[in-house]
Amino acid sequence: MSFNPAALLLLIVGLGLIGWLAGRARSAMVAGRAGAKLHSRPQYHGWYVALWLFAPAAIFLAVWSSVAPAMITNDVLASEAAQRLPAFGFERSAILSDARGVAQGDQPSVRIEGAGPLVEPYRAATQKYGMIGIAAMLALALAGGLFAFTRIRPDFRARSRVERIVMGLLLLASLVAILTTFGIVLSLLFESIRFFQLVSPAELLFGTYWNPQSGAAVEGTFGGIPLFWGTVLIGAIIAMIVAIPIGMMTAVYLTQYAAPAVRRWVKPILEILAGVPTVVYGYFAALTVAPALRNFAVMIGIPNASTESALAAGIVMGVMIIPFVSSMADDSINAVPQAMRDGSLALGATPNETIRQVLIPAALPGVMGGILLAVSRAIGETMIVVMAAGLSANLTANPFASVTTVTAQIVKLLTGDQEFDSAKTLAAFALGLVLFVVTLLLNIVALRIVKKYREAYE
């Protein structure tokens, strides 16, 4: 019998079910014997017993399955066979994990010399702690279940207890969001501080040469300006030049001119455009758009045109953002009071004059907010730039040249084979921090603008 968390979880779920049935039956019985009315309906008594059976055992299971491997390893290291292991380092852990693999049945035989004698101690320790864990878990489940079972009386307020637990669960679920936010901030900060001990923040933010090497951190190779420029060029300039006019005009046409039938057809098309995965856009940019643009650049005589151009990535990213800009503009235009539109039309303005001189100025704050959100989305976009914009950090304004972005560099820095503590890996987290802060600021400013403007008309 081995310690298999999934199977054990299933077991205690089953026990919980039995507890539910037992609790329900007992409450009915107790009530019938005493001739009294139950405070809570029988299924609440059932839930009460089931929760007492399940929750302590499940918590124990979670704790035990994260602690047990360390205890097993300790036991094995104390055994006679482990005394011959190499003192520390990679070889030692490789032998240990090989022996563990055999002992747990993941692999048929040992692959590394020296792991053989460790298999038996591993097996014994796994067995031992598995048995202890199962026994303790069952004991906890039974104790909890019995405790709850004996408390069932006609006047026992089972429903209030169960509801309190449910409320706790709800609160816990909503705390996950805060936990995630803290996790992001802390993990980025923590790794970035370690990076800034090697390289000064000023260099990352203002240096103009980016060429991180493996090994020790070299001064002067972590200048972030080329990355930031590339990000701005692709995400905030080229993509927006494509997305803003098309997105805005689409929104204007759909809200002001289009017949309902047209709207019914165009909206899903925009939704599909928004739902295409970014990796598909990236492949499209790299396979189709980039070579076409390069041929065009060569034709009009632009020097050093590259197949990995900022323009290709930017244009495709712009297409990706169109539905987003369009739906934001749609919302803001719709939020302009009908009276303003009617007033303008009544004065004899054509629809086009109304749109340009009344609706869009009135909707401008909302549209600006939407554009800021779109920019924040574009600079955080990864796959398109990884696949189409290239990885060489050039500080150039030539849109046909290859530039790189913050996100592309994060991917490049973290997907090589290296240890986790190298300056290159830590640099990725520092870049992530910059990206996170910038997108956060953009979002906050954008939401402020949108909110303030909404209030003005409501």
Partner: protein, 404 residues
Amino acid sequence: MQTRIARRYAAERRFRLIGLGAVLLSGAFLAFLLFVMVGNGARGFTYTNVAVPIDFASTPLTVDAARLNDPDADQLIANAGLADIVAFAAEEALGDDGDELISENAWKEVRSAIKDDPELMTGRHVFDLPASSEIDMAAKAGASGALGARIAELRRDGRLSTGIHWPFFRNADATDPAVAGIWGALKGSVLTIFIAFCIAFPTGVLAALYLEEYAPKNRWTDMIEVSINNLAAVPSIIFGLLALAVFINWFGICQASPLVGGLTLALMTMPVIVIASRNAIKAVPPSIRDAALGVGASPVQVVFHHVLPLALPGILTGTIIGMARALGETAPLLLVGMRAFIGDVPGGICSPSTVLPMQIFLWSDEVDRGFVEKTSAAIIVLLFVLLSMNALAIYLRNKFEKRW
């Protein structure tokens, strides 16, 4: 005056045309993208096979038929020299270049055929073996010169046939387009999304219920709301960094597995589900809550017996859309190790695996030209799955949405 009006009306028409043009342009982009993918990808679903007779009587495969169901049968057959037998048979049947005409992994197809039917090991049988990537491309797209002539010759001999490329649907990744498939990635995607759903859906719905129905107005609630709204707008790659730092380096969850990928995507989609669920819950009219409270239901009973069932269609719609987005997501999974080459179909939630978008990314980097159509074919499969999910969401919305 008249000319002024005419000018204004002309401007009006121009403006309208520009608007129409913008809409058509978006549509044209989509159509062009789909056209390119379908044009490239349609050929990726088929493959050229070469008929090769293999005579096991003259070149025997010395494998005990009783052991073909053993777990190490693959190794056993490989050790018996099947690859050489197949190469020899190809040269025998097709001439000196026969070995190069078929894929270097063609013998693996023979192997699985033998495992299915041990009878094949005796006597002479004709196998349809996958052609080499070069021959396949030339046969499907047409070729000139010596290669074209050779293909015409093979065609004349009736050796070439083109059929549905079953390995594409059956296998995991490989370095040879003749045997590379999406099944491994598809299964990885299903497992990953399953994990993400199991975590994000309950958490998201419960959080939405709390925020919408019970949360007191205080600093904590504000903080929760602010962080949910911000998380929804955080770039996806940041979630990858979080997962790398916390799940892999801190908790030590198995790297590159559907488990860690699913956890990452769960964190990413949870805010989307919370926001969609809150809107659905908000749309349930207060009169229902008042009525339930009025007949004596407790606040928890009101929510779980009345509000939640009524809001469920809206919640499910939002969840499906969120899951579709997670299914197409690549960037955060790059950082948790799922970009490694995985030649096996993943066995469980803790075994190394890859996902469909990642497979597309990996294939797009392959040098072998044969992978271009495989990549597009994989994209077609991915888009098909995503569009079906979105269609399901729209159907649910239209069918169950109530206007109060």
